[in-house]
């Protein structure tokens, strides 16, 4: 090994570490948003406040006019939901609408008291201790 090569190695080591650190940060940044979505304080707050709620079609909707941030958050979640419904619909030999609707039945059933959900007639209702108003086709 010549002195020149040693110098190069010494020079590169810190840069390599820095690059690895940047890569690790990027990986975490990429992985975290999907796992964080549920714990996103803005989403949880908007849900608890009844600004957003579950629709019978399996997607999230706005019970009252949303802020741009909440709108973007809900749109992002709905796109991810549609991708998941599409994948499961193909696997079960059903249509995306059928799978999304069945999920909607469950998601409305899963709402907690105080949260909003949309009744089959389009009204936004607040969930209480009684069973939610759902489509007659729901199991």
């Amino acid at each position: 090994m010549t002195g020149n090569e040693q110098m190069r190695l010494k020079m590169w080591k810190p840069t390599g570490l820095a690059l690895a650190a940047i890569a690790a940060t990027a990986a975490v940044a990429l992985a975290v948003p999907s796992a964080m979505a549920q714990r996103d304080p803005a989403y949880a707050a908007a849900r608890a406040a009844g600004q957003i709620g579950e629709q019978p079609d399996g997607y999230l909707g706005f019970a009252s006019p949303p802020t741009p941030a909440i709108r973007a958050l809900v749109q992002d979640l709905n796109i991810k939901r549609k991708a998941a419904y599409t994948e499961r619909a193909q696997a079960t030999g059903s249509t995306v609408e059928q799978f999304a609707f069945t999920s909607g039945c469950n998601l409305i059933a899963n709402t907690k008291p105080g949260e909003k959900y949309q009744a089959p007639d389009g009204r936004w209702l607040t969930r209480d201790d009684s069973p939610p108003v759902r489509n007659a086709s729901c199991p």
């Binding site: 999907s34 796992a35 964080m36 979505a37 549920q38 979640l77 991810k80 939901r81 998941a84 419904y85 499961r88 696997a91 079960t92 059903s94 059928q98 799978f99 609707f101 069945t102 999920s103 039945c105 469950n106 998601l107 899963n110 007659a136 086709s137 729901c138 199991p139």
Partner: protein, 71 residues
Amino acid sequence: MNITKTGARRLAKTARKLAVLIGAAALTGCVQIETPDKPIEINLNINIRQEVVYRLDGDAKKLIEQNSEIF
């Protein structure tokens, strides 16, 4: 002569019967067209849908459990 007269009478009788039958058929045809079957169709749709929903329910529950970050 007698034979031909009877034959003519028979023919006339058959023709009358046919006319009555055709008239009756035409009448029943009209009645059938008037009955709408829309409510039956809607019921069938709901049944098919409910069947599909029941079939997919387990899969939907699993999806929601396994992807809690988007639900």
